[in-house]
Amino acid sequence: MKKKETNQTNQITETTETTKTAKTKKHKVKEAPKPKVRMTKEQKKAYIKHRLKTNIRIMPFLAPSLIGVLLFYLVPYCVVIFYTFVDNPITLEFVGFSNLIDVITNPSFLLASWNTVKFSLIAVPLAVILSLLLALLLDHKIPFASQFRTSFLSPMVVPVASVVLVFQVIFDYNGVANVAVRFFGGGRVDWLKSGFGLYVVMLLFLWKNLGYNMILFLGALGTIPKDCLEAAYLDTTSTWKIFWSIKIRYLSPTILFVTIISIINSFKVFREVYMLTGAHPYESVYILQHYMNNKFESMDYQQLSAAAVIMSIVMGGAIFAMYVAENKFGQDMEE
């Protein structure tokens, strides 16, 4: 692509400004990947024209998707931002930050955020570490490795709604878990209706997500150059040392990616909570989606919009951090 552009632009130069051609050509060879650097006006024009032509040819491929994204996501999101700063959708009076402040000081929003954050803080590190351990386990030459992989990954495709009955039977007040608790001399717990509810959800979350994360790690482990590991095995027999000094370094971009994906997935844990505890849960498992559902029910556009804006800012920050970090760490490992 770039080469052709260069030729085209050079042709134009040759016909118009013969004296400059040699100079430009030399320059071009040096800076071939960036044709916009120090171009003559005509070259620039030709380049822009060429670019425009290509883009016009390509645009129809993007158009259907772009129209959809604009219509259902981007434009209404701008409306959401607008709603955040007005008092209601009819009078449209500007109220500044009062909606945002209302949401932030709302006790149920705070409870929901706290529960969500608490869940992420505990579940995400667990999800990363345990799945890395699983991947390292399967990275050995063991019999039935592919069967193990299949079984670890299977919860990802099994609908939560299907297995939720089993979880309910286990963690009910009259359930199986309490048999174990009593065996060890503990009192009965109504798991889903107590402070433990969040941990039951966490178990379901880990059950569902570990396989997926493990596949990401397995893929990354497969890309570690063999000669590098072989050389290390000549120097030391300590698997531990090899893990820390070589594998971890190659895995660092993946660890980052898995962490971010797990954070995002931990925000989507509503499905599991809803399946386990229904629409009106105990307060220890009251999370952000519940709050949103309540606001949808009462059609409170301002609070809805303000909450969505707050959450998107938080998530956006996290994603942006990932983007920056991935670029930084990713380049470190590329050859």
């Binding site: 386990l137 299977s154 309910q168 809803y274 969505a308």
Partner: protein, 308 residues
């Protein structure tokens, strides 16, 4: 994708007994993990072959409520049985032949998930081709916006979705699920990642031969990203098969609800049927998984950017 069995990089060690014992331990550990991951599914499966009376006898008390609607606390705790006393297909017969409601909800789930997976992939194929071929810096900005949207949780995206579907008067129709579903940019992110791996020279060669963009797209690019597209399709299908958030907010009518919502309400009344419905509900996903596991693994690995 490397086979897992090929990944062990260590050369033969001097000590031969150590690794063997270690291997035994690893297999034992992996087996324990396997039990953890398979148990809930297996339990659901085996319990579905119990007769309704057996299920009620076993678990009925768990979900029983007293006259006031509160929970009944019983002295004895319930036992979770792995193997039914007597294998019976009674539940399946009831679900399949006597209560059309479940099959209808199953059909609902299918009619949401399948078209969304297919159309979203088609739109995304075009969009990701464009993102690879377009020129100028603005495309990176646009792509970043796409990524942002597809990583946002439902708490955020549902608000704009609701506003538009409400404005178009589509709340409580199938379109309320379909339209935001097919336009979701989730697939674009993954497909662009895999399309970036196609060497640019290929487009140039095709262009020199006089191929139009459409020909390049269908004859050159499509065959190369076919497997990624398939794997992303599986991911989308599973996601929409399991959806809970969207129907809760965008659908009010009980008739339109997918099976996922319906299942969560089942245990109050017909606990006897719940396991059989749960198994029927997971069949499409499990079949897709068994058939397309390698594609799925490839799709996930692409997502991790390890291969790209």
């Amino acid at each position: 994708m490397k086979r897992i069995s090929d990944m062990d990089a260590g050369p033969v060690r001097k000590n031969k007994v150590g690794p063997r014992i270690k291997k035994v331990f690893i297999v034992i550990a992996a087996t324990i993990c396997m039990v953890f991951f398979l148990l809930p599914t297996v339990l659901t499966f085996t319990n579905s072959f119990m007769s309704a009376t057996e299920i009620k006898a076993n678990y009925g008390k768990v979900f029983a409520t007293n006259e006031k609607g509160g929970k009944v606390y019983i002295g004895e705790t319930v036992k979770l049985k792995l193997i039914p006393d007597m294998v019976s297909f009674e539940q399946y017969k009831t679900v399949l032949f006597k209560s059309p409601d479940y099959l209808f909800k199953f059909w609902n789930s299918l009619i949401y998930a399948l078209p969304i997976a297919i159309v979203q992939i088609l739109l995304a194929l075009g969009a990701s081709y464009a993102f690879v071929r377009l020129e100028g810096r603005w495309k990176y900005v646009l792509f970043f916006i796409y990524i942002m949207i597809c990583l946002m949780p439902y708490q955020v995206t549902l608000v704009p979705n609701y506003l538009v579907t409400n404005w178009l008067n589509l709340i409580n129709t199938r379109w309320a699920i379909w339209l935001p579903g097919i336009t979701s940019p989730f697939a674009v992110y993954l497909l662009t990642k895999s399309m970036k791996r196609i060497p640019k020279a290929l487009y140039e060669a095709a262009k020199v031969d006089g191929a139009s963009e459409w020909t390049i797209f269908t004859k050159v690019v499509m065959p190369l990203v076919k497997s990624t597209a398939f794997s992303v399709g599986i991911l989308i299908f599973i996601d929409y098969w399991n959806m809970v958030e969207q129907p809760l907010i965008l659908l009010k009518d009980d008739k339109l609800q997918p099976l996922s919502i319906f299942l969560s309400r089942i245990n109050e009344g017909e606990i006897g049927l719940a396991f059989a419905v749960a198994v029927i509900y997971m069949v499409p996903c499990v079949l897709t998984f068994l058939y397309g596991e390698d594609y799925l693994v490839e799709g996930i690995t692409t997502q991790g950017g390890v291969k790209g």
